[in-house]
């Protein structure tokens, strides 16, 4: 076995922030996960349904389904003048970062030694669509703020204005793998010594009806008029992903750098791969490569993995290839569930949200149920079905894949 990176096992997760449609904050989120609750329904946020198109049973096309955040609780640290022009993605970023910041106690850290990687690109689509529509007839009155706010990096500007982060901050785009790529980039930033503490965030991808139309047209987004049943990863009756608004943030640093912190878990290894494919279809070769790469860096054999948190979107082909990759790598004894069956697919946020789901389940010693898994594609795998199960997880693997041939995997361990 190849030698490991000498300090690979020194990195730990010391803070979590999470905002989803099923709950804001880590306690509410874990409770929702273990309950197997959901927030799916026809989407109501302005700009989520085709304007003037008849929808519903009597219309030409069914409404787009998804899980939307109810009321987003904003921290007092964010001044009202900032909120006025902050997009939904930006507000979710600020609220989620606030939780992770407080959880990790970052107020005492030198701001010049803190970095921020925000996973996601083109995340504010709905707000931009709304703005374009508003000014279509009178473009000369377009707000000057648009000149900075249309860029995803506005989230970096806002987050570092409200929180003292002075090491670096940038976005990192990798489609639905963005959230995990951000975590792996944050690991590199701490490991290299660029910063002592790095926050990785999976940004809230705010879809407009345009993206929903395209996802549906390409067969990626599940149709259907039964919101509770539409999202069914790894079930034989699955028909695509169902969108779910989410934002997650984790704080990564060297173990023991700040005494008194009780980390959620340890980073063991990670890997990314490109399939050489611009299209949305997954690749068995790419997924096995990242699984093997992450396990190799972690110094783990497949049989030593207790739990797999898969990408599992509910995609016809994606779920099939992912299970094939797990079998190919011998990951058939590890318990497995599907976080997206509860949260929906957060797209750019998903990778971070699922690292958080993994860390919270590890700490709780309970695995969350998989909703709608009535007829598993591969019944031989040790699924967590309709009810949560107590399970001691020492080692875990999570996968994230993105359109354009991106595969990524991460290995985690309890502390």
């Amino acid at each position: 076995m190849p030698s490991r990176t000498p300090d690979a096992h020194d990195l730990v997760f010391t803070g979590i922030g999470i905002t989803t449609a099923v709950g804001q904050g880590r306690d509410a989120f874990l409770a929702a996960l273990l309950d197997g609750s959901h927030a799916f329904g026809p989407m109501n946020r302005p700009g989520r349904q085709v304007p003037s198109a008849p929808t519903g049973p009597d219309g030409t096309g069914p409404a787009f389904l998804g899980a939307e955040i109810g009321e987003l609780a904003m921290p007092a640290a964010v001044p009202p003048r900032t909120l006025r022009t902050a997009s939904l993605s930006a507000r979710a970023a600020l609220a989620t970062l606030d939780e992770a910041w407080t959880d990790a106690g970052l107020a005492d850290v030198d701001p010049y030694r803190i970095g921020l990687v925000i996973g996601g690109s083109n995340v504010q689509q709905r707000e931009l669509t709304q703005l374009h529509a508003r000014h279509a007839q009178q473009p000369e009155f377009l707000r000057p703020t648009y000149g900075m706010a249309f860029m995803d990096s506005d989230l970096c500007g806002l987050c570092t204005e409200v929180f003292p982060i002075r090491g670096f901050a940038h976005t990192l785009g990798g489609a639905s793998a963005s959230g995990l790529l951000a975590v792996l980039q944050a690991v590199r930033a701490v490991r290299s010594g660029q910063v002592d503490v790095c926050v990785a965030m999976g940004a809230l991808m705010d879809l407009s009806y345009w993206e929903c139309l395209a996802f549906r047209a390409m067969g990626a987004m599940a149709p259907g008029d039964d919101p509770g049943a539409a999202c069914r990863p790894f079930d034989r009756d699955r028909a695509g992903f169902v969108y779910g608004e989410a934002c997650g943030a984790v704080v990564i640093e060297r173990e023991g750098a700040r005494p008194g912190r009780a980390p959620y878990g340890r980073f063991l290894g990670g890997a990314t791969a490109m399939d050489g494919n611009r299209n949305p279809n997954p690749s068995l070769e790419g997924e096995t490569r990242v699984l093997r790469g992450a396990l190799r860096e972690a110094g783990l054999t497949a049989s030593a993995v207790d739990y797999v948190n898969p990408h599992g979107t509910g995609s016809r082909l994606g779920d099939e290839i992912e299970l094939a990759a797990l079998r190919e790598c011998g990951l058939t004894d590890a318990r497995i569930n599907a976080t997206k069956s509860i949260t929906g697919h957060g797209l750019t946020a998903a990778g971070t949200v699922e690292v958080i789901a993994t860390l919270l389940q590890m700490r709780a010693g309970v695995l969350h149920p998989t909703r709608n898994l009535l007829d598993p594609m591969d019944p031989s795998l040790p699924w967590v079905g309709a009810a949560a199960e107590p399970w001691a997880v020492e080692t875990a693997v999570s996968l994230s894949m993105g359109f354009g041939g991106i595969s990524s995997a991460i290995c985690l361990r309890t502390c």
Binding site: T85, F141, L142
Partner: protein, 81 residues
């Protein structure tokens, strides 16, 4: 619409952009800059004002106004042109 009405509109928009000025007693001598509005805030306030009045003025023409009274005068002059 009088100059006073334009001034009132500028004050309203300033309070929206800078909510911390809610209790400030505005006068025509107030400078947006001195009230804490940065260049984007100022452009935002002016754009909101000229949109509400449906008057098209390049913002550059308002850049050297010293206070909100002067801004109101210039926008009022354009709106009646």
């Amino acid at each position: 619409m009088s100059t006073q009405d334009v001034l009132k509109l500028i004050v309203e928009n300033t309070r929206e952009v800078l909510p911390e000025l809610e209790d400030h007693a505005f006068t025509a001598d107030d400078s947006l800059k001195e009230l804490g509005a940065n260049s984007i805030d100022r452009a935002e306030i002016l754009m909101m004002t000229i949109e509400a009045l449906s008057v098209s003025i390049p913002l550059a023409e308002l850049a050297d106004a010293r206070n909100i009274g002067e801004l109101a005068d210039r926008i009022h002059a354009k709106s009646n042109a």
